[in-house]
């Protein structure tokens, strides 16, 4: 298990290298010279050249890439082109906001999504099932930024219950979290339903019933436990995408999170920030994926024993 974990951690290194390379290459194609953008319309050619040299932007691609990589593995990203602030401290400052939103909404999603999915599955084709799943479909089909705007219209503008911007108070988190949770809840509910349907047809569920077990225990104890794998996958991938999962909502609500930071950086061509942000997001993604695999192993003895035998090759 430990060996497997270490192997996976080591594997993250080339992935991160690749991610940085990819993103840097794409940014290379973005129109606009960061130095010119920073200096504004009045800048002279010399000023621009000077600044480019100062930022090291006149070095060849490979040199810049190498420098970025070396620094990144020390978790050092330099300063933002546009504001001059340390990117690391900015990222560390922003992550908690984003994570709060993502995690709160994930918790909401799990608490609502799973029971809905289970009820749907256990009452397949009933009115309740159809309604729940239709509602879930509506939720995944809605653009969440639009939903957020509509929530603002109703709850902030018309009713005046909730703030429309900012997150100084707990209330401020309500609309953003709901907007982010919307799609996730629906996906979890749908996934729960389909994997529950698969599981409750299995013989061991009938076996549990034949033992005289209560229906509740059969469903929540035996069936749900077994149906959890694909649900964990959905939750895990949302968790892994947490840092970028609320981008649009952050920008709507002016939340100083990672998403907002990145959108601004992309718009102002702050390559340093974009690269660092993507790097951190990919790092988080990798760690979460590893965490998810470990949770699989914890939840499923079959997978656990494979890890022990070292037989696992990634799908």
């Amino acid at each position: 298990m430990l060996r497997y974990t270490i192997k996976r951690l080591l594997w993250m290194i080339p992935v991160l290298l690749g991610v940085s390379l990819l993103i840097m290459a794409i940014m290379e194609f973005c129109p606009g010279d960061p130095a010119k953008i920073m200096l504004g319309i009045d800048a002279t050619e010399e000023n621009v050249a000077e600044l480019n040299a100062e930022l090291g932007l006149d070095d060849p691609f490979i040199v810049r890439y190498g420098r970025f990589v070396v620094n990144a593995f020390h978790f050092e990203f330099g300063n933002s082109y546009t504001s001059g602030e340390s990117i690391r401290s900015q990222i560390l400052f922003r992550i908690p906001y984003t994570l709060t939103i993502s995690l709160v909404s994930l918790v909401i999603s799990v608490l609502i999504g799973i029971p809905c999915g289970v009820i749907s599955a256990t009452h397949q084709y009933s009115l309740r099932d159809n309604l729940t799943m239709l509602a879930a479909l509506f939720c995944v089909s809605m653009p969440n930024f639009w939903f957020a705007l509509m929530m603002i219209t109703v709850f902030s503008l018309k009713l005046g219950w909730l703030p429309s911007v900012g997150i100084e108070t707990v209330k401020g988190y309500i609309i953003p979290c709901i907007a982010v949770a919307l799609g996730t809840t629906a996906s979890i509910a749908r996934q729960t339903r389909s994997s529950m349907l698969e599981v409750i047809r299995q013989d061991y569920i009938t076996t549990a019933r034949a033992k005289g077990q209560k229906e509740k225990v059969v469903i929540y104890g035996h069936a749900l436990q077994n149906a959890m794998m694909p649900i964990i996958t959905v939750i895990g991938s949302r968790f892994a995408g947490a840092l970028a999962g609320s981008m649009v909502v952050e920008s709507i609500f002016s939340i100083p999170g990672m998403g907002n930071y990145l959108i601004n950086a992309i718009n102002s061509r702050d390559y340093a920030v974009v690269q660092a942000g993507v790097f951190v997001i990919a790092l988080w993604f990798g760690l979460c994926m590893l965490g998810m695999d470990l949770i699989y192993a914890w939840a499923d003895p079959r997978i656990r024993s494979q890890y022990k035998k070292g037989k696992v090759s990634r799908k």
Binding site: K309, G310, K311, S313
Partner: protein, 317 residues
């Protein structure tokens, strides 16, 4: 004396698995005559299917030699393989997964013929019709899809497909295991009829001992990748020598009342074929195991036509 159709010498097929080398078929030798049936029995996972597939070059053999009609076909090039496959065919166990669900019955049967070439469309049609008649499939099913048919009919499609290229030799990998007894009997009859009509040679793989007895001229018993006993069907049933064969035969539930049943109950189950130790692989479950059994065993002819791979075989004769 009949012509020899297949000979296998020290055939080995090892799979590389994460846990180590898996000896699916280990040092198997046999020969069979044209127009006869060689039955292969053994427990699940003992390497029966792998043996059949390796002979057909669906798996590349790890070691050993395969002769078909006296010719060494262990390593063949593409062109030769193509010709070879027209002579050697396979029928699968699972009539569900062995038929492409997206092709209609006639398409499935027509495909190999079309590939072989040299036939006009009309000729193809008559050939398909002929094959369907041959295996007892009514023409009205020509445009049906496999999922619309029952297991028995599906298995007939599989047989028709195997026959389409006019092979001399067919590996039947548990062709009736998935079927109910009455359907099973229909298919077994069909296969026997076909053999008589066309002079086919079968390797008949099964774990159902009564079926293998009904079908085969000779039977070989496999255990963990190795052949432990081989004899003519009658000989094997009335005079089994290897302790495993004896246990196997005694375990068959006989559908008769008031008969005396003498069970030889084996301990435990077949073990893993990954990196097996040398020596008799059955020793762990054998009531007669002794020190001698730790040495490698060889298949020896203890009686004319009766081969046994057991160092203690003399004792049991």
């Amino acid at each position: 004396m009949m012509a020899q159709i297949l000979e296998v010498k020290n055939l080995k097929k090892y799979f590389q698995t994460p846990g180590g080398e898996l000896h699916a078929v280990d040092n198997v030798s046999f020969r069979m005559e044209a127009g006869t049936t060689l039955g292969v029995v053994g427990e699940s996972g003992c390497g029966k299917s792998t043996l059949g597939r390796t002979v057909l070059h669906l798996h590349e053999s790890t070691d050993g030699k395969i002769f078909f009609q006296g010719e060494d076909i262990t390593r063949v090039d593409k062109k030769k393989l193509k010709a070879l496959r027209e002579d050697m065919q396979i029928i699968f166990q699972d009539p569900y997964s062995s038929l492409n669900p997206r092709m209609s019955v006639s398409e499935i049967i027509r495909e190999p013929l079309k590939r072989k070439g040299g036939r006009t469309k009309a000729e193809l049609d008559t050939d398909v019709e002929r094959l369907m008649d041959l295996v007892g499939l009514a023409q009205r099913f020509a445009n049906s899809y496999p999922h619309e048919l029952d297991g028995g009919r599906r298995q007939r499609i599989g047989i028709a497909r195997a026959l389409s290229l006019n092979p001399k030799f067919i590996v039947c990998d548990e062709p009736v295991s998935a079927l109910d007894v009455s359907i099973q009997a229909q298919i077994l009859n069909l296969m026997k009829d076909l053999q008589d009509q066309m002079g086919l040679s079968y390797i008949f793989i099964t774990h159902d001992l009564s079926v293998v007895k009904h079908m085969s001229d000779e039977i070989s018993v496999m255990y963990l990748g190795q052949m432990v006993e081989k004899a003519s069907a009658a000989e094997l049933f009335y005079h089994p020598i290897h302790p495993y064969t004896k246990a196997l035969l005694s375990a068959i539930p006989i559908p008769k009342v008031n008969i005396e049943r003498k069970r030889i109950l084996l301990k435990g189950e077949i073990t893993s074929p990954v990196n097996p130790k040398p020596g008799c692989r059955f020793a762990a479950r054998c009531a007669y195991a002794s020190e001698e059994c730790k040495a490698p065993q060889t298949l020896e002819e203890v009686e004319p036509g009766h081969f046994v791979s057991c160092c203690c075989s003399k004792k049991f004769i």
